[in-house]
Amino acid sequence: MLSIVIKMLFGERVKVLGLVFGVAFATLLVAQQAGLFVGLMTRSQNVIADAQDVDIWVMDPAVEYVDLIRPMRDTELFRVRGVPGVAWAVPLFKAATSVKTPDGRTKSALLLGVDDATLTGVSPRVLMGSIFDLRRPDAIAIDRVGYMQLWPGEPLRLGQTLDLNDRRAVIALITDAAPAFSAQVIIHTRYSQALAYVPTGRNQLSFILAKAVPGADAADVARAIASRTGLNAMTAQEFSSRTIRYYLKHTGIPISFATTILLGIVVGSAIVGLTFNMFVTDNLPQYAMLKVIGVSNARLIGLVLLQAAVVGLIGYAIGIGLAALFFEYACTPTSALRGFNLPWWIATGVAATITLLILLSTLTSLGRVLLAQPAMLFWTKR
């Protein structure tokens, strides 16, 4: 009986195409937009995530998120180091700037100055060179995508020079640093070197990165730092969440994505709902005939839901497949869209959304199926 019902479904090729298109469209739009949104939110806190082995971020109390810098006095570093429970604390300089190649190609850049002694905060994913080469004069680390944007089509090569605020910078290290929210190029260098590249005012220290002693709770240590120094201190996880919350609350990004996602659901629902309704309406005599033949209402509901499920499954497979292809081919590790992907939980969430969409669309039509009276067959004359 199931194969018969499936054949009846595919007998209406145009409507099936419409249904599959509606589901695939909604799936693609929702999955792609959700993936991009999550990727963008992840990007907003990548600087925090990339600073591995750091438990606590300390900053000026006015700082609300990682991209807002209010420099502290350098002496704050020593105050933090003096707080019980702190294993070590190092400075981090963070500034937005621009870089220029000798042939004049210019890109925006995120400059991160890490502790001269320990180099804590440099991306751990090194593609070329040694991290210790950053100790050489004018040495900088550049991320692979930034390098490819500055020297498109050229192979990665150490020793290339850049102009950074009229000062010479030599590429000593190429990393696979996680992409930043807005900057095209990510540069790591020593703290002292960074200050030379981007002159600042009296206060220069953007963040203090700290580690809790073994066995101590990082949140407790962060609270101790805050209470003893008057600075703002939080765990890396808390700072990540706070940064994401800031972007969610203070930018139009969530509204923009939510609108597109909602549009995908609404348009998809409209296409699926209307087409399924047409499908059901056109097939009412057939449903009535099935009732005449002895199919109960409950079984008929099951059969209609099966038809909807088949359409939903095919549409979802096509839509999620297209979304996966987008992330696979458009968001390669070397492209500007790197880091954007389609996590399993988005695919699952979209599946749940599409299931709901199909169910709602089907339920609106099921009433007509249930009310389809076999008697209509007697009064429908040829």
Binding site: I4, F10, Q286, A288, M289, V292, V295, K381, R382
Partner: protein
Amino acid sequence: MSDALTTPRDAAIACRRLVKDLGRGKFRARVLHEVDVDVYAGEMTLLVGPSGCGKTTLISTIAGILKPESGSVQLFGTAIDKLSRRQLTRFRGNNVGLVLQQLNLFAALTAVENVAVPLLVLRHGAEVAYARAASLLEGLGLVAKTHKYPAELSVGEQQRVAIARAIVHQPRLVICDEPTAALDAASGRLVMQLLRATTLNKDRAVLVVTHDHRIFPFADRIIHMDDGRIGTIDSNLNREAA
């Protein structure tokens, strides 16, 4: 010649004081007025009468598709008006085969698949269902058409497929609504011969609603209806096909 009514137990169909209204509000009208009628197994009974006299309403009520306002309908001793909707659907699936004027073949299914549907609905295995459907179609001279879709069949062939679908599960009652209305005289005659030959046996009753005088010679009994009431009943007719 008018029959005396038998007891319900003897009749394949026994309707007693059957009342049915159609329409709503001020458009509500009584279509069946306390109808008493019996139909017997082993006979082909024709239900005839002018348009709007209630023939279709009567067979719809007999098939359990419409529920009467009052009165009773017994099919082979089962009071179908007492059955729940679910029981009635199951009873109809097992015991009633319908051939409608609008054949309502499933357009996406081949002839053999169309015929197999009632067996599949009754949860027979697909292999058995298709084998029995194919064998029945072969018996109806459609062996070359088993895998054709309804759109690829002539009206007469479609009619035969519809008949096959109505009887494939061996129901005890076959009801046909105007089976020859869209056919020319020769085709109509052929369909009636086929109906008699394939559907009629001592355990099965066949009830045919028709306007078509040309098929009266095929009847064992003819029930005349007028204005929602049973008129004369002609019995023990000479059957052309017999």
